[in-house]
Amino acid sequence: MNDGATLLTQEVTVTYSGHKALHPTSLDFAPGTVSALIGPSGCGKSTFLRSINLMNREIPGCVIGGRVIWHGENVNVADADVYRLRTQIGMVFQQPNPFRKSIYENIAFALRRHGITNRSELDEQVERSLRAAAIWDEVKDKLKESAYALSGGQQQRLCIARTLALGPEVVLMDEPCSALDPIATFAIEDTIHDMASKGICVVIVTHNMEQAARVSDNTAYFLLGEMVEYGPTGQIFSAPKDQRLDDYLTGRFG
C-alpha cells in the first residue's frame, strides 16, 4: 500500500511455546506516516508490534516467524543486530516506565552506552529530545531530580524523549495513552503529529478508535490473532470491507 515503505513485515507469525498468537501478517509502513493497530484485547496487535523490533525474543518460549524487512533486509534472522535495530526502531510502552534515575540520566544513560560521552554533546542531545517531546519547559529546571517526581503524562513524554534521543526512524507505541488523562493524551497526540512531520514512521497500538481516527494515516484491524483489514484510516472507518471489522465498528462486539 505504501510505495516508499522502509519497513515491511512479510508473513510475520508469533508463537508462545508452540501456541499460535499471531497468524501470518504482512504490513508496510512508510516514513512520515502514522499507522494505528486496533482491535479488541488479546487480538494480537501488541504482539505484532513487539515483533517489529524483535522485543518478543526477550520472552522465553516466544518465537517470531516470517520476515521483518528493514531497509530491504530481513532482520528476523538468528544473528540479527538487535542492539542497532532498536536504536533505529524505538519503542514506547503502555505504562510510563522511566528509569529510576534523574530526568537527565533517563535520556543521557542510553546515549552514553551507545558511545556519546562528550558532556556538551550529551547536554545538547538531552535538551533537543526533551524539546521534541514537548516537555523541556516543564523539566528544564529540575533535570537532576528523579523522573518519578513527574506526573504520569510527563513521565510518558520523558519516555518518548528517551526514545527520540537515539534518533530513530520508526517509533513503535504500545497504547501509550491508556494510563493517561485526556489532557496528557492530547499532548502525546500532538507529539505524534510532530514526529510524523519530521519524517518519523509511527506505529501505534490503541484500543481507542477515536484516537486512531485522530492520529493515523493508515489503520490495521486485528481480531483473534489475525490481521483482518489494512487501509487508509478514513476508508477503514467509513467503508470497511470486511464484515468482522464492520461488526466491531458498529459496536456489535468488542
Partner: protein
C-alpha cells in the same frame, strides 16, 4: 447471564450486625497487638540483659583494646574485635560479587528449567546447612587439604559458603521485585541484557540488596561454630608495624584469628581466667553493639549509593 446477576444482587441482604463486625475487628486487633507486644518484650529483655551485664566492660577502653589474658584477670578483646570486622569484610568481599553474579544469572539469563531448578534446590539446601557442618567441611578442605591451617583465609571461605546461599536468595528476590518494564525499557533502547542489569536493575534493587547484606552480615558476625574449626581459637597479639608475613600483622590472612563469637564460646567452655563471667558478658555486649553499628553504617552507605544511582 446479566439478568441472573441482577437478581442475585437484589436478593442479597447483610445478616451480620454492625456491632458484631466491630467487636470482631477489635478482638482481632487486640490479639495481634498482644502478640507483637510479647515479641517486643522478649527482645527488650534479652538486649537489656546483655547490655546491663556487659555495661561495665562496654565503656572500658583497656578491655576494648587490650589482648586477652590466659590465666590472670583483666584481659581484653582488642584483637577479637578487629578479627570479627576483618573476617566480615573479607567474607563480603568474596561472597558479594559471587552472589550478585549468581543471582543475576538465575533471574536474567538462565532459562526456566532443570538448571534453575537444580540451582534453586542447591541454594535452599546450602542455606539450611548447620554451620557446624560447614565448619567441619572447611576444616577438611581449607585447613587440611589446602594446607592453609587455622587462618583468616580458611575462616572467610567457610563463612562465604554459608553466606552465599542467603545473599543469592535475597538478591534474587530483590531483582525479581524490580518491575519487568524497567528491563524492557533498557532493551528497547538497544542495550544489552548485561547493561540493563548493571545500570538499571541493580540500582533499582539496591535498597533490598543492602538489607540482604546487613542480614547476612549479622549472621556472619555472630557465627561461632563454622569458625572454631577454620579460623581457629587463638588470637595472636596484633602489631601494625609487623611485616605482612608475620602472624602479628593484622592484615595477614594466613594467621589464626579468634572472633568475638568464638571468644564467648571459648571462655565459657574452657576459660580459666577468674573474671570470665564479666569478660563473657562484656564480649556479648560489644558483639551486639558492633552488629548494630554495622547495620547503621551499611544503611547510610546504601542510602548514599542509592541516591547517587537513582537521584531519589
Amino acid at each position: 447471564m446479566g439478568s441472573e446477576k441482577t437478581t442475585a444482587t437484589a436478593t442479597f441482604h447483610a445478616t451480620r450486625s454492625t456491632a458484631a463486625a466491630r467487636t470482631h475487628d477489635r478482638v482481632a486487633t487486640g490479639v495481634l497487638a498482644a502478640i507483637v507486644g510479647l515479641i517486643l518484650l522478649a527482645l527488650v529483655a534479652i538486649i537489656g540483659y546483655i547490655v546491663i551485664s556487659g555495661l561495665g566492660k562496654l565503656f572500658d577502653w583497656s578491655f576494648l583494646t587490650a589482648k586477652p589474658e590466659q590465666f590472670k584477670e583483666g584481659g581484653g578483646i582488642g584483637p577479637e574485635i578487629f578479627n570479627s570486622f576483618y573476617l566480615l569484610v573479607l567474607t563480603l568481599l568474596i561472597s558479594l560479587p559471587i552472589s550478585l553474579g549468581a543471582a543475576v544469572f538465575l533471574t536474567q539469563y538462565a532459562p526456566e528449567g532443570p538448571v534453575t531448578n537444580v540451582a534453586k534446590t542447591a541454594i535452599e539446601t546450602l542455606s539450611s546447612l548447620p554451620s557446624i557442618v560447614v565448619g567441619l567441611f572447611g576444616m577438611l578442605v581449607f585447613v587440611l587439604s589446602c594446607g592453609w591451617g587455622f587462618s583468616i583465609l580458611s575462616g572467610a571461605l567457610a563463612l562465604t559458603m554459608f553466606n552465599i546461599p542467603i545473599l543469592v536468595r535475597v538478591i534474587q528476590q530483590a531483582l525479581e521485585a524490580v518491575p519487568r518494564d524497567q528491563r524492557d525499557a533498557a532493551l528497547a533502547l538497544g542495550l544489552t541484557r548485561w547493561e540493563a542489569c548493571v545500570h538499571v536493575l541493580v540500582p533499582a534493587a539496591m535498597p533490598a540488596i543492602v538489607t540482604g547484606v546487613i542480614l547476612s552480615a549479622g549472621r556472619v558476625f555472630g557465627e561461632a561454630a563454622a569458625l572454631i574449626y577454620t579460623a581457629g581459637q587463638s588470637a595472636p597479639a596484633l602489631d601494625w608495624s609487623a611485616p605482612i608475613t608475620s602472624l602479628a600483622n593484622p592484615l595477614n590472612v594466613m594467621r589464626p584469628a579468634e572472633t568475638l563469637a568464638v571468644h564467648i564460646w571459648k571462655i565459657n567452655s574452657e576459660g580459666v581466667v577468674p573474671d570470665l563471667v564479666a569478660v563473657s558478658a562484656g564480649t556479648a555486649a560489644v558483639l551486639m553493639v558492633s552488629i548494630l553499628a554495622f547495620n547503621i553504617i551499611a544503611r547510610v552507605v546504601g542510602r548514599a549509593l542509592q541516591r547517587r544511582m537513582t537521584a531519589e
